[in-house]
């Protein structure tokens, strides 16, 4: 695959060291946010700055549990609920849709495929006001349902485009064998094809979740009350009100990153496969 000849021992060490240097530079913003959340306000304003917390301060996290207005753990729960809901809708709708597109030819197939492609590149600005009106009329404005419905529109097209490749790569013979065993179109899809495409389904679920988790515009526009808003909107509001309370703000940021970090640690291979499929946002 890569360079044919193995690198010499010396080169190996040099390259590895350089790669770690790159890593440290690129991940520095994350490190800085983490240690800022663990410093006291006093230490944050110290000059020269400290590159690790000299006095460990966990108050920024603890305080948020107690205070009512900007309770980040409640925002976290809101985000979780919204993201799970959006992921659920995206997966349930996108799995059959991608199967239909991959395995059948019918009228309007191209049009449908094209429309999923186009929705991938829509800016949120185009959708915000009309969705706002629609959700008001549906009486779901200012509830988590509005955010779920809106966030699912990001996950669905992405999932359809990714999964259709998975389904297309499954040989026809498997389906035909299922028909011989007495399956119909629907049961063959549920019992045979979905289990085989499971890694693809995982990719879709993870990315739908991540897109919803990272959303700010929908959560902020369609949910008015702070206590119902997702964590990203919580951060934004908090910034507006306590602009320079960096210990609290970074604590907020760290908590927001936790699920992302967990997904990364345990499901890295799905991330790489999702990103390289070419349908992802950059």
């Amino acid at each position: 695959m890569d360079e044919e000849k193995k690198l010499t021992r010396k080169k190996n060490i040099i390259y590895s060291a350089v790669s770690v240097l790159f890593l440290c530079i690129l991940l520095f913003p994350l490190y800085w946010a983490l240690i800022t959340s663990l410093k006291t306000e006093q230490e944050i304003f110290q000059n020269p700055p400290t590159f690790y917390p000299h006095v460990l301060n966990l108050k920024s996290y603890a305080a948020q549990v107690e205070t009512g207005d900007f309770n980040m753990f409640r925002s976290f729960a809101n985000s979780f609920l919204i993201s799970l809901g959006a992921t659920g809708i995206a997966v349930v709708l996108a799995v059959p849709a991608s199967y239909g597109i991959a395995k059948y030819r019918f009228r309007a197939r191209k049009l449908m495929l094209l429309s999923f492609l186009v929705t991938q590149m829509l800016p949120v600005s185009v959708l915000l006001t009309p969705m706002f009106i629609m959700f008001k009329n549906m009486h779901v404005y200012n509830t988590w349902i509005a955010a779920v419905l809106a966030d699912a529109t990001i996950g669905i097209p992405f999932s359809v485009l990714i999964l259709k490749n998975y389904f297309a790569s499954i040989p026809k013979d498997l389906e035909e064998a299922a028909y011989l065993d007495g399956c119909n179109k629907f049961t063959a899809f549920v019992r045979i094809l979905i289990p085989i495409a499971k890694p693809g389904v995982m990719v879709c679920a993870i990315f739908s979740f991540l897109y919803a988790w990272g959303d700010l515009a929908y959560g902020m526009t369609f949910i008015l009350d702070q206590e119902k808003r997702p964590i990203t909107a919580g951060i934004f509001n908090f910034m507006g009100q306590y602009g320079t309370k960096w210990s609290y703000l970074t604590a907020f940021a760290v908590v927001t990153i936790i699920p992302v970090a967990l997904i990364f640690i345990f499901m890295q291979k799905y991330i790489v496969s999702g990103m390289t499929s070419g349908a992802v946002k950059g």
Binding site: M1, D2, E3, E4, L7, K11, N12, Y15, S16, V18, S19, L27, P29, L30, W32, A33, F45, P49, I89, P96, A97, G100, K103, Y104, R105, F106, A108, R109, F116, T119, L122, P123, V124, S125, V126, L127, L128, P130, M134, T153, I156, K172, F189, G214, L216, A217, T221, T232, M239, T250, F252, T256, V260, F264, Q268, I271, V272, M275, K281, G282
Partner: protein, 299 residues
Amino acid sequence: MGKVKKMFRYDNAGVLFVLPAFIYMLVFVGYPIIRNIILSFQDVSAGNLVRGVKNFIFFDNYLELFQDSVFRTSLFNTLRYTVLCLVFQFVIGFALALFFNRRFSFAKPVRGILLVPWMIPVTVTALMFKLLFATDIGVINYILRSFHLINKNIEWLTTPQTAMFALICANVWIGIPFNMILISTGLTTIPKELYESASIDGANKTQTFFSITLPLLKPTIESVLILGFIYTFKVYDLVYVMTSGGPVNSTHMLSTYSYKLSFEMFKYSKGSAVANVLLVILLVVGVFYIKATTKGEEA
């Protein structure tokens, strides 16, 4: 023995599988797009948004935009921001992809961890860069000061030019992993033998790069740049959280200006018109993207 096995069949039953997702998108995306176009031809403010009479004023909103200096700034900013972000994230991503293409022990794991910035919610990224670029406690000012490059702290986010620079830095940070991983994947598709025969022919590294690597990566490079353009051009959260378009509207993008018009000034119709300008530009670029992605597709 004759019969080619088809991977698919002509059967209108297939539409039943696609229909639920399609209808969902039609209701929650298709209808809003139409509605947004209509809205941009009307005169809608907070009073008549949900109920009430909406007067058609046709192209007045659009004509008004071209008189609007903030709109012109936003359009120019969006273009400038997109181009600069693309250049930097592409060059750095490409360089890293080439570097990690070598076979050293840390190559795969470290490259994996470098994907993290792409996954972080953009709101958090914006917050982190706001902290780095902060005037008094910002670590960037501290570093510049300690190397004696500046003797007075720069007010990064409250000066127009430097605010734009900070935004670009943050976006490049998000874009590097995306460029790197796609180019890395592209590199693995280049057959090894080509490099071997090139080295037998006595080509040096620069020659091989320009005559083998670059031409063979062309499809990858195209799709990375087109996708990068689309997703950078519609930037919203990053700018909204870091500068909210300020100072004095100097860093507004089309998306943030549209949001401001609609949800802060309640000029919904004018906001919709800005969003539609954004949409049209994206669709034009999107045609290239669709051509590239459907090239291999069966008829």
